[in-house]
């Protein structure tokens, strides 16, 4: 429902999309009052990531950028799209190749049911219309890792069309708030992956491994509804989470299971879109946004210095941090699409159209797949917000970090501490420590049960919160120990001895007469200073509320 509404908002001209977002305005100098929010959004688009962004001089014109994406996701299946050879990453070269994959004469494609189901499920999760009839086509090009000389794809009539993907973008100016955005999905098509080429420049040869040739791919085409690298990166991240939740793709970018090409152009607001370039193989989450923003700025610079943009394919050089022309399409590419003669149309059914007495192995029921869709990331986030009162941006962080949500749930399961406390600890102290040490959640030295125990100690007022932080640090350094062990070893339990605390307070009041004076003069914050001093004197082993109580009594007597 939410997605639908969002989509409605964005149905107008494309650039209205960027206007909601004040994200990139920060630090760009004051805006003139007459400037509409639309323009602001546009200007922010192109320049947000460039620290050298100069203020616009009078007479200088704004730029808006348009970004569309083509995403290839490898389908998570046992066998390939049209052959019974195994799908596996990093197997010995050419060990997962059938005669069909090597394109030997006389072999024919046989469609894998699982791949069709994966495409339908992905289409449903992305609010697509599922075509009950779709067609396969051949796309021709010559490359050594494509032994047939063509790729089987779905050019004329793809399996799913007209969907939408809702995602969130951080608004930096408003301290990590999240703005909801939507990108339309043009289509999802089933197609074959190619093999891999290893270029050996030294011996002037290319080594070909066909293990990947014929693996099922979902090509998801996103309409040019995005306007900067960050939006594109967040849309890709959301798609990745959806694919992983569905189990239709492992979508691991490092293993090439999710590959992104971006179409990028710039124009002046109100004018027709500029000529676009295609940046290929954005295969790293880290560099996706960077590459797109680089290309946007490159195009702006090119046009401002009187140059022109060529409709060309470029690749992003990770080392140099820039895009370079691939010069591989001299003259227009001609793929000579033609219908795949060896595959009849792919027919899908719903509960209504399901033919009576059909072999259940041979028919795919869209309604049945819809009923069995797992919980999607947006639903998970909503549940978190509802169940634990989490702020939206926290729910995004919990899902975006791999394994963090599971960690959070495991802590919640084992502790009596309030959700608010757990969220705070997991997202600030725990995640902060992970980032500081560049570790993944799975590599954390602190287990969920240890953190749960620590939070129980805190919740049961056995230790103070500053002592808890100390225990956490020690847990991090000595993972074998339990929080209780550390507390007793370091003598961090809260002081329960009332008499000792009374004495400590008295001594502090006597030792800091000037603070007491300050308090008596009417500075309400002076009491906090005194509490802090007592806590420090008690080596973080005192309960601040109790100390406050004692101090107030002693001061008034």
């Amino acid at each position: 429902m939410a997605a639908l509404m969002l989509r409605f908002c964005c149905a107008g001209r494309r650039w209205t999309l960027s206007c909601v977002d004040g994200a990139f305005r920060q630090g760009r100098g004051p805006l003139t009052g007459s400037m509409s929010s639309r323009i602001r959004g546009q200007r922010s688009v192109a320049q947000h990531s460039f620290t050298t962004a100069q203020k616009l001089k009078k007479g200088e014109r704004e730029w808006a950028a348009v970004v569309g994406l083509e995403i290839h996701a490898q389908i998570s299946s046992n066998s390939k799209l049209f052959s019974g050879s195994q799908v596996h990453f990093a197997a010995p070269p050419n060990s997962l190749v059938s005669f069909f994959d090597a394109s030997l004469p006389g072999t024919l494609p046989v469609l894998n049911r699982r791949c069709v189901e994966a495409a339908v499920m992905t289409g449903l999760a992305l609010n697509c219309h599922i075509n009950k009839k779709s067609l396969f086509d051949r796309k021709h090009y010559f490359y050594a890792d494509l032994p047939a000389g063509y790729q089987i794809t779905q050019q004329r009539l793809p399996i799913a069309v007209n969907g939408s993907l809702a995602y969130g973008v951080c608004i930096r100016s408003q301290h990590s708030q999240v703005a909801n955005k939507t990108v339309r999905i043009k289509q999802i098509q089933l197609e074959q992956d190619s093999g891999k080429s290893l270029h050996d420049d030294l011996r002037a040869q290319t080594l070909i491994d066909l293990n990947r040739a014929g693996v099922g791919l979902l090509e998801v085409v996103l309409e040019p509804d995005m306007s900067c690298g960050e939006e594109a990166a967040m849309a890709v991240r959301e798609l990745q989470l959806i694919l992983q939740a569905l189990g239709t793709s492992q979508a691991n970018m490092a293993e090439g299971q999710l590959r992104v090409d971006a179409n990028i152009s710039v124009h002046h607001p109100g004018e027709p879109w500029g000529i676009r370039t295609e940046v290929k193989n954005l295969n790293s989450a880290k560099f996706l946004a960077k590459a797109i923003d680089y290309e946007i700025q490159r195009q702006i610079n090119e046009l401002e210095s009187g140059g022109e943009i060529l409709n060309e394919t470029r690749s992003f050089d990770y080392k140099l941090g820039c895009t370079v022309s691939m010069r591989d399409k001299e003259g227009k590419q001609d793929y000579r699409f033609m219908p795949e003669p060896n595959l009849p149309p792919l027919l899908l059914f719903d509960s209504e159209s399901l033919p009576a007495g059909a072999d259940p192995q041979q028919v795919i029921n869209i309604d049945q797949l819809r009923e069995h869709l797992p919980e999607l990331p947006s639903q998970t986030r909503e549940k978190l917000m509802l169940q634990y009162g989490l702020r939206p941006e926290y729910s995004f962080t919990l899902l975006n970090e791999v394994g963090l949500l599971e960690f959070f749930h495991n802590v919640m399961k084992d502790t009596k501490a309030k959700p608010h406390t757990v969220t705070n600890w997991v997202l600030n102290r725990f995640l902060g420590s992970l980032k500081q040490h560049s570790l993944a959640v799975s590599e954390s030295p602190v287990t969920p049960s240890a953190l749960a125990e620590l939070l129980d100690l805190l919740d049961g007022r056995a230790i103070s919160s500053s002592a808890a932080k100390q225990v956490f640090q020690l847990l991090w350094r000595s993972p074998g120990k339990t929080p209780a062990q550390i507390v007793s070893e370091q003598k961090l339990e809260l002081l329960q001895d009332r008499e000792a605390l009374e004495q400590l307070c008295r001594a502090t009041l006597e030792g800091h007469a000037h603070v007491v004076m300050d308090l008596k003069k009417g500075n309400p914050r002076a009491i906090n200073k005194l509490i802090g001093l007592v806590c420090k004197a008690a080596l973080n082993r005192a309960d601040p509320t109790l100390i406050k109580e004692i101090l107030e009594r002693q001061l008034s007597s």
Partner: protein
């Protein structure tokens, strides 16, 4: 494997490339050098001689006769299977693990890889530096 490339290459030539066919018509049955260059690049063939081009022109003229057939209001037949059910295979691994057999088709092998020339494609069109004898086993000569 490369023999197959050749076969496909020629097949692509005969298998009606419309824009190309119209261009040929305009040229009065003669194929221009420009079109030949385009075709060579698309199909990875090297026409090399005037004789090969003449043979191509003849083949086109032969295929042109199809235009005599009136296809008005006739839906194109894409496949003789189009009213048949598309068989769905269960997702089981039943093939592969035959690297020795697969590699038998390769002209050159390094470890368990096929070996292809460097760069995108045919040296003639893609500026990679191949020795002539290297090119001969990769770039297919038109017959």
């Amino acid at each position: 494997m490369w023999a197959r490339v050749a076969r496909l290459g020629r097949w692509a030539l005969v298998g009606g490339h419309r824009a190309f066919a119209t261009e040929v018509c305009r040229g009065g049955g003669r194929v221009t050098a420009e079109v030949i260059a385009h075709l060579e690049r698309l199909a990875l063939v090297d026409f090399g001689s005037r004789e090969a081009v003449a043979r191509l022109e003849k083949a086109i003229a032969f295929a042109e006769r199809l235009h005599a057939v009136d296809t008005e209001r006739v839906e194109p037949l894409e496949s003789v299977l189009e009213d048949r059910c598309l068989y769905l295979r269960p997702d089981n691994v039943v093939e592969g693990n035959c690297v020795e057999e697969i590699l038998q088709n390769s002209h050159r092998v390094v470890e368990e890889y096929f070996v292809a020339p460097p760069g995108m494609c045919c040296a003639k069109y893609f500026n990679s530096e191949l020795r002539p004898e290297e090119e001969s086993w990769w770039c297919v000569k038109a017959l």
